[in-house]
């Protein structure tokens, strides 16, 4: 007997709202329907009515967490059209801000995943460790989020020299904390039991669905726009791309945790280079934008983000197309949720990091009898947390 469970439509913690309808047979999920577009604001059209220099402020509000990645991809698209090179100093500043953003985004996800499986300690820890990253971003850019750093031809402001020792100190502290956190995740038998083999998305399926970012890399699909299309400073910096094999929720968590170390490595190298360069230009003058088209690609924390712009020689883009990574990643739920239990469904849909949480109602409809349950989104989390508790009891015998 198949029942339907609608979840959604909007999950106000992260990313785009989406609506899921789980078709369940008992506890097993047999099918899933997805609808997206609830917070559609018409950004592409708005952007076609703003001047070239105003658009970065708009596109950083596509998503509050990727608020450096979208402008980065946009300015790369315009620079691709203009065929200009960015001053070296600006390239490193861009990399530093972008990687700081990746750090806070990955920490945020780990915390929410912890909350989902009932490890609120992990949630509180990671969000506490995330604060110093935001403090640095505030000191460097003037805002905790929405940094307004990117500008066509360079960056808007310099990283103050007196901030550099603070950034280094914050990174040193964060390495220790991240090691502890990674250790806690890798060593905990309950987290293993709860997340291993859950929501598997293997390499073949990653390719088929066009999965991106950590979701794809957890499944062994080695794809990273920073390495595959090295833009700006990324070609001159040494870093590894973290790839796992199984593609389950556990691997998705591990990939993100290990990527934090890589981000720290990138920021340290960029700071070294920045200090070696000494004071200099941070922005090239661009002048008129000629007719033509350009593409900008950047690896956002959730995967590859792509911006396409076409110009007719005016002062505004004629067409601006945005493809965000979550669009691809959300669709992978169609494969990874099926076959798992309802208690895992929340965790799996959250694991691709359109993070998904607690304010929406969940209704349960029995297709045959028309019987209807209304569950709150909180109930879904409670179910997930109860399952962890059961596993813990089973393993510890208490």
């Amino acid at each position: 007997m198949v029942k339907k469970i609608p979840i959604g439509p909007f999950h106000p913690i992260l990313e785009e709202p989406e609506f899921f309808e789980l078709h369940v047979d008992g506890e097993r999920v047999v099918d899933i329907d997805m609808t997206i577009g609830w917070s559609h604001r018409g950004i592409e059209l708005l952007s076609e009515h703003k001047t070239w220099d105003q658009v970065p402020f708009l596109v950083e509000r596509v998503c509050g967490i990727c608020s450096c990645s979208h402008p980065y991809a946009y300015v790369k698209a315009v620079e691709d059209l203009l065929q200009i090179e960015v001053p070296e100093r600006a390239q490193y500043i861009r990399a530093i801000v972008a990687e700081l953003e990746r750090l806070h985004s990955h920490l945020l996800w780990t915390g929410l995943a912890g909350h989902f499986i009932g490890y609120n300690t992990v949630f509180m820890w990671t969000w506490k460790y995330r604060e110093p990253v935001l403090d640095i971003l505030e000191a460097v850019t003037g805002n905790r989020n929405h940094y307004a750093m990117m500008r066509i031809g360079g960056v808007r402001r310099e990283i103050p020299v007196e901030e550099i020792p603070n950034i280094r100190k914050m990174l040193d502290d964060l390495v220790e904390k991240n090691k502890m956190l990674t250790g806690a995740i890798v060593d905990d038998p309950v987290i293993h039991a709860r997340t291993e083999g859950v929501g598997i998305l293997d390499k073949k399926m990653c390719r088929l669905y066009g999965a991106l970012g950590p979701t794809a890399r957890a499944g062994g699909y080695n794809i990273d726009a920073r390495r595959d299309h090295p833009i700006d400073a990324y070609g001159k910096i040494d870093f590894d791309v973290i790839v796992c094999e199984n593609g389950d929720v556990y691997d998705k968590a591990v990939v993100r945790q290990l990527e934090n170390f890589e981000s720290i490595k990138i920021i340290r190298q960029a700071l070294d280079k920045l200090e070696a360069l000494g004071p200099g230009d941070i922005c090239t003058e661009i002048g008129e934008v000629p007719p033509g088209e350009g593409i900008g690609v950047y690896e956002a924390p959730r995967g590859e983000v792509l911006h396409y712009i076409r110009s007719n020689g005016g002062n505004m883009p004629m067409r601006h197309k945005i493809r965000a990574p979550s669009f691809n990643n959300i669709l992978t739920n169609e494969y990874s949720v099926v076959g798992d239990t309802v208690a895992d469904a929340g965790l799996i849909t959250a694991a691709v990091d359109p993070c998904y949480s607690c304010t929406e109602r969940v209704g349960r409809i029995d297709r045959n009898s028309g019987e209807r349950w209304i569950m709150s989104e909180g109930d879904l989390i409670r179910m997930s947390q109860e399952k962890t508790e059961e596993i813990r009891k089973m393993m510890t015998g208490k």
């Binding site: 913690i13 604001r41 509000r61 596509v62 506490k128 905790r144 304010t359």
Partner: protein
Amino acid sequence: MSLALKALKKSPWVFHVNTGACNNCDIEILDALTPRFDVERFGIVLVGSIRHADVLLISGPVTRNVLPRLKRLYEQAPKPVKVIVIGACGCNCGIFRDGYNIIGPVDKYIPVDAYVPGCPPKPETIIAGVVKVLNTL
């Protein structure tokens, strides 16, 4: 002061609604609950169901798709309920003002008690906004 309001003041339970924001205000609301700011000390708890809420924190401009749900959420909230709009978008639609799918700020559709401007407002600002509303009770 009614008994309900008196009780509300001691431990306001908040529920947050995203009506089309970019998530940033929502993250900052969550941030206020985590160790750095820790508003749970004062009895402020984020709840998962609208039926438990004393205070609604609404972020984002109202999009066409979300409007029926926003109205329904407000109807379901137990009264008296205080509504606080978080962020520039909720106050006056902000940068999305001209969007074809944006049908106005939150106060066009439901009564609002306080506005917390900023893009996004810092957690300190959000806490200050909630405290101000509680002080008016």
